[in-house]
């Protein structure tokens, strides 16, 4: 069993001696501004779609002994694990190769931190007048690791050695000078050397911002105030996190989510979460979850921890500075050799989005129920589970210019939000763990990659039904266009294609599963020439192959590729939804008439979708009757 240690005793309310509340607030806000500034530098200079559009990056500050004091960025999954990397750096190199002013160290080992090998962190010490006073770090997801599969998600892998180069603190900057030996080694190990190099440069630029701003703060407010603010930040967040945890109802909740595929064949893995809340402590216990897989869908401890952190930070502690303090009320219990606590050298490249990804769903599910049982202001924070198909199909091949490309599609991050206790979820609006994700424009996709999209839109009936429904999910379909080789390859890394995992709450229904479909030898191009743009799979001829959630697919000229991603879970019994709300959704074609009748018991007639009151009353009565009719 691996745990994060007991959440220590609560600290007193009084702040650090000698640090007044005003200086604390000012220095804290300046550190936050520095983190945002560093993030802007990353976004504007990176060449990775995943950094710029998906915003998969993190910047943070640490104490000189490696405790996370403040973090920000586009993705919450990594912030906890970088602290472990910083401590590894101190423990292993401080008294050996040394940690000096102007040095930066590069890491990408999922067994040290991060989710998988593409997560690359650069850690830099912060010096003041010759003395180390802290650390900062920047992390991004790089587009290739030189693994057995392009892009670094590896369904074929059975050991971590096959999943690409793993870096354990190579010195990429020495005394402010870039180390070309490290750059050249890294570039030689990956498929997209230019992009990876630019991403390393971006992170160095980002760290330089963090260092410079920290030094300016020390110059202005004094070293003592800076150090005291950093120490106090952790305690401050801990106090707030405990206070909020205390307000949640005491009790125990259980949730189970599943993985339907191991990357090579259909399979079944269970992730069981028992959440116990008592006083100001929260225990997330995964005892009962499946043993680790022989394939790469495992998550490391860091990935599981990161996913739990992301949901707690985003749903419960969103207004508290993010650092170690908010984890102190939390105890995470992970059995050994478990699918979400894999032992070295298990393959883990698909641990995110697979094993770790479903942790996201399980934590959301228990949290929604816990909040619903709590006082009124917390009750309002409850919601259906947010859609996120954890699909991330990675496309690669030759583009229309004859250049090799790798494109991890992230459109499925625009999932529907879960329904709330008093309103519908927002459609195609995004996830919690990656809140800053942007999805690209079709015009940019088609300029860069050899494809032509037939549609990208919200999917009818995709949201979980309820008294308030979830936000709609989405769907897209493309065919190849101007491909220089006549094909592209797609590496699938999904989950939630068989089990419905965007669950509803309090009687609300889950959102539909996500799907990957390949249409073999379609007539899409011929239809286009005739003036018809196919708007559904039914309109296309050709063999429709439901692809597995994980694995490989090749899309050739004449083939189409279809992806549907999750809407949000619903809240409450759909029979309690006002018929007029159902009617509005029908008019906007978000809900079909058939769905309205079967699920909401609302019957409309005519072009204006007028509500047939009598028929609606009858339909609802009939549904109730069937509910109580003796089950088979």
């Amino acid at each position: 069993m691996k745990t994060n240690g007991k959440g220590g005793k609560a600290n007193g309310r009084r702040a650090e001696a000698g640090l007044d509340a005003i200086a604390f607030e000012i220095v804290k806000n300046k550190m936050l501004a520095a983190i945002n500034e560093a993030g802007a530098v990353l976004v504007r200079t990176s060449a990775s779609e995943v950094v710029v559009t998906v915003r998969e990056f993190t910047q943070s500050y640490y104490t000189s002994d490696g405790h996370l004091t403040l973090t920000g960025g586009g993705i919450l999954l990594h912030v906890k694990s970088i602290a472990d990397i910083v401590r590894y750096l101190i423990d292993n190199y401080e008294h050996t190769i040394g940690i000096n002013d102007g040095d930066m160290f590069i890491f990408s080992d999922p067994y040290l931190g991060g989710m998988h090998a593409p997560d690359q962190a650069i850690v830099a010490p912060i010096f003041w007048q010759g003395k180390r006073v802290g650390f900062c770090a920047s992390l991004t997801h790089i587009p290739d690791t030189g693994a057995i599969d392009a892009g670094g998600f590896c369904p074929r892998a059975t050991e971590v050695y096959q999943e690409g180069i793993r870096l354990r603190g190579l010195r990429v900057m020495r005394g402010g000078v870039r180390c070309d030996d490290v750059f050249n080694t890294l570039k030689a190990a990956v498929r997209l050397p230019d992009i990876v190099e630019l991403d390393v440069l971006s992170k160095i630029a980002s760290n330089n911002v963090l260092i410079r701003r920290a030094q300016e703060l020390i110059e202005k407010y004094g070293l003592e105030t800076y150090l005291a603010t950093n120490r106090e930040l952790i305690r401050y967040s801990e106090r707030l996190a405990r206070e909020r945890t205390r307000k949640i109802a005491d009790g125990q909740w259980r949730s189970v989510t599943y993985l339907e595929h191991d990357g090579q064949q259909p399979n079944l893995f269970r992730i069981q979460l028992t959440a116990t809340k008592r006083g100001d402590r929260l225990i997330l216990d995964y005892t009962g979850s499946s043993p680790q897989a022989a394939t790469s869908i495992n998550a490391t401890y860091h990935a599981a921890m990161g996913c739990a952190f992301a949901i707690l930070a985003g749903r419960l502690f969103y207004d508290i500075p993010w650092n170690e303090g908010i984890l102190r009320p939390l105890e995470l219990r992970l059995p050994d050799n478990c699918i979400i606590n894999a032992q070295y050298p298990a393959a883990v490249s698909q641990g995110m989005p697979a094993g770790g990804g479903v942790v996201v769903f399980a934590v959301q599910d228990v949290l929604s129920k816990m909040l619903l049982a709590s006082g009124d202001d917390l009750r309002r924070e409850s919601s259906g589970v947010f859609g996120w198909s954890v699909h991330a199909p990675v496309m690669s091949g030759s583009n229309q210019y004859g250049n090799f490309f790798i494109w991890p599609t992230m459109d499925e991050c625009a999932g529907g939000m879960g329904a709330r206790v008093d309103r519908d979820g927002v459609g195609t609006a995004g996830t919690i763990q990656t809140p800053k994700v942007r999805i690209g424009n079709i015009e940019e996709y088609e300029q860069r990659y050899p494809m032509l999209f037939l549609f990208r839109r919200e999917e009818q009936d995709s949201a979980g039904a309820g008294k308030f429904r979830g936000g709609a999910g989405g769907e897209f379909c493309f065919m190849l266009h101007k491909s220089s080789t006549g094909y592209i390859d797609i590496m699938l890394s999904g989950a939630g294609c068989e089990p419905a995992i965007a669950l509803g709450v309090a009687g609300g229904l889950p959102a539909r599963q996500g799907r990957f479909v390949k249409v073999k030898d379609s007539d899409a191009a011929a239809l286009l020439r005739q003036g018809r743009i196919a708007q559904s799979l039914q309109e296309l001829t050709g063999e429709k192959e439901m692809l597995p959630p994980k694995g490989y697919a090749r899309i050739e000229n004449r083939d189409c590729f279809y992806l549907a991603w999750h809407g949000g879970g619903g809240f409450g019994d759909p029979l309690e939804r006002g018929p007029e709300l159902v009617r509005q959704d029908i008019i906007d074609q978000l809900v079909s008439r058939r769905f309205a009748e079967c699920v909401y018991g609302v019957v409309v007639t005519g072009a204006n979708a007028d509500i047939d009151r009598a028929a609606t009353a009858r339909a609802r009565e009939e549904i109730r009757r069937q509910r109580l009719a003796q089950a088979a």
Partner: protein
């Protein structure tokens, strides 16, 4: 008003001071609170495939089920589980002392 467990489930005391589950919608007493409330609900369980026709789910599966829990009196739906067939009920225990 009792202690809310889910939107339409609460724990309350009956006339004898025993803790019981009630349907918060119709007020029906479901049973003693020493067991999970799901033990007293009308349970409908059907494989995913059953839900595809209405459009609720998109992909057929016979190993996964939706399990729905209803008030035996007013038929309001308390909860829905999405689980593998045979999975024990996902219970909730609220401390209400």
């Amino acid at each position: 008003m009792g202690r809310r467990v889910l939107e339409h489930i609460e724990i309350d005391k009956d006339g004898n001071g025993h803790k019981v589950y009630r349907c918060a919608k119709c007020g029906t007493t479901l049973g003693p609170a020493d067991k999970g409330f799901k033990e007293y609900a009308v349970v409908k369980e059907a494989s995913y495939s059953h839900y595809v026709d209405a459009g609720i789910l998109a992909t057929r599966s016979d190993r996964f089920v939706l399990r729905e829990f209803y008030c035996p009196k007013c038929a309001v739906r308390f909860d829905v589980e999405s689980v593998v067939k045979g999975e024990p009920y996902l219970d909730i225990k609220i401390r209400d002392d």
